[in-house]
Every structure is written in structure tokens, then in C-alpha cells.
Symmetry: C2
Subunit: 410 residues, 2 copies
């Protein structure tokens, strides 16, 4: 497994990009053996610049939901590009996409489009403030809602005032949510909840029905907005929004990542209660009306519905989860698998420094399977039972590698 071209690019990048790379795709946070630079992608496969092939379980950290280069999505996107993409206004695809989202998503009376997930969460918070005339936004401790000062996981370059109206609660903890509402002291604009708890390196938690119901009630009692951040999970758990599964409708939701199978796009949807507020705020971006991404999104969402793709991802995710559980039992190495099966996270017991997780992933990547040790992974509609079988073979090498690390426990 050569990596000389990857190393050469990293050296070139060190000169012209601070730290060689930024953000969540920086390979410095990944186990030994992971490439930084990719040359090619097709279906569920990726090739790095040295030609090494990987069966992928990150799906570009979410965007790829139908597999790379889905022919129908690409055809729709490029037909639109050949007509026009960035023009002096939107194309018909914008209306089609908004209509489709209103049709698919029960709470949505309208949609509006952006480019980043952070654009969508920031816009939703601004709408909540505009609509209520109040200021406080509740966010869960440890939740990721974007990478700008009001929500960034880092405080470097962030001022105290950027967070002046952010109050926190613990996910799935009704008491802490109500305490945060009380702390807002009549100034509550909105409550942001992740689709489920998917904090980096922690066991995932689906929302309980009780918590979701309490969050809805707390927003209603305070006449505030309930905002579901569906950027990461959107369209993988339910085409109608992830809180469909717990029977709760938000007022506003933020979408991005998988909405257009890799083409850059984000969206906010909302109900009529926040329509006027949305119209009242100013938000815009140079590329937000780009028609290629919108045509790709119409195709992506249509295919997800037609092919019942979520059920397929659940079946593949269940196969993977059951296979990993079985290997864990065989090797007597306890693991925790949490969250929805189509967004898998596997953490090892007694692994605070992630030594086991890294050893597992290093072995798998050498066997050509791209897992992540700490961030939830993503399945796509392109994953097949054969892919899962191959992934489990690599996982077995991973478990052996973990066994080699630690004294035998059997």
C-alpha cells in the first residue's frame, strides 16, 4: 500500500494551506494509514491519489446517499448545468425542489435554500429571533450545529458576546431543558435539537418520545420555535424529517449534506407560523440559486422516495451491526453500537484514548475498508450485502488487531 503521492501532496499543502488542511477532513485526526487526498469515487468505492481502493463507510461525511455518480442524479444535474447554473436569478428547479420538500416534509409549508449546513442553522436561529422578537437560543451541550462563532465547537477567535444568547441543556434530559427554558426568563426565541444525539466520540442517542414531546411543549408554552437540525441525519432516517420517528413536528428544520447526493446545497424548511419572519430577514449568498445543485436535489429526493432507499440503508445497516456484534462476541471484545443503524457508530469499551478504535480502523483501512473510529459513519443506498460482507472481513482483521493490542481477556 503505497502512499508516496499522498505524502508529496501533504508536503506541498503544508506550504500553502495553514496546517496542510483545515476542519473535519484533516487526516491528522485519523488513524495511521488513512489517506488525505482522493483521486476518484464511484458507487461505494473511493480511490486515493496513490491508487489504493477503499470500500467507503463515510460517504463524504454524509453527502453521498445514493452512491457516488448515481447516473440519474448526474444526468439531471448536468442537463441543468448545460442549460444554466449560476444565472441572474433561480431556475424552475428551485420551485420544483421547494414543492417537493413541502410535499415530503409534514411540517414544511415552505423551503428556502443555502449552501452550507451552517447557513441553514444560522438562518433558522435568525428566523426564530425575527419571528418571536426574543433572543435566547437553547442548544444541547456538546451538540454540533456548525462552525461559525455562535455555534463553533472551538472558542478560538470567538468572543463571549457571540454566545451571549445561547443557553444549554442536555440532550434527552427534560429537566435540564426546562431549566434552560426558565433561565431564558421570557426571552426564548428557539430550541435547537439535533435529529439525534451524534456528538463526536460519544455514544449516540436517539431522542426519546418523552424528550421530543417535552421539547415541543416547551417551545409551545414559550411561543418559541422548535428547530430540528437535520443537517447530518436528514433523508437517512425519514424523508419527512428525523423527528417523524418520534411523532413530533418542528417549526423549522435545517438540511444539507445528503440533500443533493454531494452537490453543494442546504435548506431551511418551516411552517406558516414562521413564514412572515423568514420573509422579513435578509439572507443571501452568491451561489444559493445555483440550479445544478437544485436539479440534483430534486433527483436525489425523488430517487430516495421511489426506491424506498431508507429501508434499504436500514437493512444494510442492520447486517453491519449484527455482524459487528457477532465479531465482538467471537473475539470477546466488548463494543457499543449506538444510534440508527444507517448512521453507525461503534465504540470499544474501556477505550478512553481511542487506542482500540484506532487499531481497529488502521487494520480495516489496510484491508481497503474506510471506517471512522470516533465520528458516526454513513451508509448509502448503494451499499450491497456483498459490501457489508467485505466490510465484516476487514472488521475481523480490526478485532484481531485490537486483541493483539490488549492482554487476552478470555
Amino acid at each position: 500500500m503505497s502512499n508516496s503521492l499522498d505524502r508529496a501532496l501533504r508536503e506541498r499543502a503544508m506550504k500553502v494551506v495553514p496546517g496542510g488542511m483545515w476542519g473535519h477532513m484533516h487526516a491528522k485526526d485519523l488513524p495511521e494509514g488513512y489517506p488525505q487526498y482522493f483521486a476518484r469515487a464511484e458507487g461505494t468505492k473511493l480511490w486515493d491519489v496513490d491508487g489504493n481502493e477503499y470500500l467507503d463507510f463515510m460517504c463524504s461525511w454524509g453527502p453521498i446517499i445514493l452512491g457516488h455518480h448515481h447516473p440519474e442524479v448526474d444526468a439531471a444535474a448536468f442537463a441543468q448545468y448545460q442549460r444554466g447554473d449560476a444565472m441572474n436569478g433561480p431556475a424552475e428547479a428551485m420551485v420544483e425542489l421547494a414543492e417537493l420538500m413541502v410535499e415530503l416534509i409534514p411540517h414544511a409549508d415552505w423551503a428556502q435554500f443555502e449552501k452550507n449546513g451552517t447557513d441553514a442553522t444560522t438562518t433558522a436561529a435568525t428566523i426564530a429571533r425575527a419571528g418571536t422578537g426574543r433572543r435566547k437560543i437553547l442548544v444541547a451541550n456538546g451538540a454540533y450545529h456548525g462552525a461559525v462563532p455562535w455555534c463553533s465547537p472551538s472558542l478560538i477567535g470567538v468572543t463571549a458576546e457571540d454566545r451571549a444568547h445561547i443557553l444549554t441543556y442536555d440532550y434527552n434530559d427534560i429537566e435540564s431543558l426546562n431549566a434552560a427554558v426558565a433561565k431564558a426568563d421570557g426571552d426564548l426565541a428557539g430550541i435547537i435539537v439535533s435529529a439525534f444525539k451524534h456528538d463526536y466520540g460519544k455514544d449516540q442517542q436517539l431522542p426519546t418520545v418523552e424528550f421530543a414531546t417535552a421539547a415541543r411543549a416547551a417551545a409551545d408554552d414559550a411561543d418559541a420555535a422548535l428547530i430540528v437540525d437535520d443537517v447530518r441525519a436528514g433523508f437517512r432516517l425519514s424523508l419527512g424529517g428525523s423527528w417523524e420517528r418520534v411523532g413530533v413536528q418542528p417549526d423549522l428544520a435545517a438540511w444539507s449534506k445528503s440533500i443533493a447526493n454531494g452537490f453543494p446545497l442546504a435548506a431551511v424548511t418551516g411552517n406558516d407560523r414562521f413564514r412572515a419572519a423568514t420573509q422579513s430577514i435578509f439572507t443571501t449568498g452568491s451561489f444559493w440559486c445555483g440550479a445544478m445543485s437544485m436539479a440534483a436535489a430534486v433527483a436525489t429526493l425523488s430517487i430516495l422516495r421511489r426506491d424506498d432507499a431508507i429501508a434499504h440503508m436500514e437493512r444494510m445497516g442492520t447486517l453491519l451491526r449484527e455482524g459487528l456484534a457477532s465479531l465482538s462476541a467471537t473475539y470477546d471484545i466488548p463494543i457499543r453500537q449506538t444510534g440508527p443503524v444507517q448512521m453507525p457508530l461503534m465504540l470499544f469499551d474501556d477505550d478512553a484514548d481511542a487506542r482500540k478504535g484506532f487499531a481497529f480502523c488502521s487494520a480495516a483501512i489496510k484491508a481497503g475498508v474506510y471506517f471512522h473510529p470516533l465520528h458516526n459513519m454513513f451508509l448509502s443506498a448503494a451499499h450491497t450485502p456483498g459490501d457489508i460482507a467485505r466490510a465484516l472481513e476487514a472488521a475481523e482483521l480490526g478485532f484481531r488487531s485490537v486483541r493483539a493490542l490488549t492482554p487476552a481477556t478470555a
Copy 2:
């Protein structure tokens, strides 16, 4: 000139998009006769959904700098897409683009990429704060630096704390700049300056050498960052950054719009003084490593350099400016043309309500030429002397329309 399909789309959109549209591309802010929806674009031409053809002078509000569907840009972008776009990390194109920007832009020791102009300005402000450990950012009154709470032109949904560390000065006014620095009282992180003053509906002003030099000195004296917001003007005035023309190098610059001829991309460039600060902050986005836009940017910047495209845009802009001045004299209707010729703005004297500007543009759009009455316009490298001649014919109809509005002044 039919507009029935445009009207039908506007009606559909009113149901599923708040206000039917958002942001700077909303046709409600444009004169009568302007379409909202576009079907096709090629070179310097646009077609609306009803098939009406326009010779375009907005270039998608900036992004289109080589004309729509420049064959070399499209070929580079699609070759990259066919290999891979949104992958688990960047492609080699990211390194190539950073190297090219470092080569072209004198202040740039490094580059980092985003999707929106607002991402770039926000990142630059965060880097300035991280690098200095201070908080205040100086912005010019009336300047546009993006559409999020810290810089949005609207205060709806924005809290006072979002602006707590923003201080203002008047563009090209050294005294007001120094007063703002004094007001920062030792807490100055950065001074943001637009490439030139291009506030909506106001006469444009190029920076004076004295002002630019004073801004550089003020930043140096305070050990703060000088940040040029080159989002709107970047690569149209100078490939090395717009303040090249006044002989001043910033510490940081924000780029977007024309960087990839319409493909969505933004960038921050900076000098080594801010390299470590840039590495220290957390900023990221799901699509920021998308390789198609980066390949498009490498092609766009390479072609701009090879073809000496800025000189061509200046020649075409000069033809347009001289032609408009001549028409103004012929019809004895005084106008003001300000700013760089390749980003033209024409305002009528005694036109506070823009009645003349709207009448002018309405006449031109009916003649198939897409001008803007209040926002600066954009030329591209695709504009030809024939295009300018055609534009001037439409402009003559515009002047006649203005003459019909007002009592004869001669």
C-alpha cells in the same frame, strides 16, 4: 415579450418559498419587465423561462467572469467531477489552487477554501481575533460584507451582541478610520475594507492611495489585521488583489464570486503572520473540499492570466462608459458613472427615488439588455465590442424613456 411562464412560476413559488424569493436576486427590487426565472445562459447571453433573450451586464451578480459555459472551465470542472467531487477529503486540485493563488496574490502565503463570500469574511474576522487575541473589527458604514448577523445589512433577527465588537468608519475618510481605531481602545483585531466602496445605490469610490496607506499604517500600529474584502471585485481589477492598484498589501483577503466562473467557491488568503492563527481556529463545511469547484477555479484563474482578461474587461468597460457619457450629453440628461469601468455603476442626477434609473432599465430590458439601476454591474471577458454597441443602442432607448419621464431640461 411574453412573461406568462415567469408569472406562473412566481405564483407557484409564493406558496412554497416565503415571499416567493429571498435575498439579492428577488425580482421585486428590480424595475418592471425584469424576469425572476431563467432557463438558459451562454456566453454573455441569458434566456428567461419565457424564451426572452438578454444581453447580460450582471454576470450572475459577479460570478461569471469568462462568460457562461466557458469551454475550458467546463471541461476542467467536469473531468474532475467524473473522477470525484465530494469525497472523504480533498483532491489534488485543492493544492493546485492554493499554489496558484499564492503565486498570483502578493500578500498570500497560503489559502483556505469555503463556499460563500460570507464564509470568507467571517473566517477572516475570526482569524484576526485568534491571531491578535483582541476583539474589535472595524467596518465601513454602509459596506456589505455578507448576510449573517455580525455583518448583515438588516437588523431583523439580529441581537445587539452580534455587533458588540463592530466599530464603523467612513470609507476613504482617514480621520474617521483613526477615530474608530481610537474607539477600539487597544482591543483592535482587524480592519475590514472593501476592494472599493460599492454600496448599493450610491456612487462608487475607488480607495485613495492616502486612505489605503493610512489603513495599512493603522493596522500595523495596532498590530491588527488589515483585511481586504475582495468577494465582489476579486479578479476583475487585479489578479493579485484589488488593493494592488493602490500599492497596499493586506494581511488577509476574502474571495468568492468570480473565482470559479460560477461554480460555488470562496477563499481566504493570508500572510505568514496569520498562518498559525488560521491553523488554530475551527472552520469547516460539508462541501468545502468539493473538487469540481476547485478544478474550475484553477482553470478560471489560469485563463484570466493567460488571456490578460482584465485588460479586455477594462477596454470593454471603457467603451461602455464613454458611450453612456456620450448619450448623456446628447440627451442632456446628467449621469454619474463611478468605480472601475469593468464594474460599472450609472446613476442619474436628481434621482433620489430611482425613478429615472428604473425607467432607463425598463426600456433597456424590453430591448433585451439586462442592466441594473442601483447595484454595480459586471463585465466579463466574453463581452465584445459588438455587445457594447448593442448595449448602447438599448441605453439610447433608456435615455429616451427618461426624457419622456421628465420635462425637457434643454
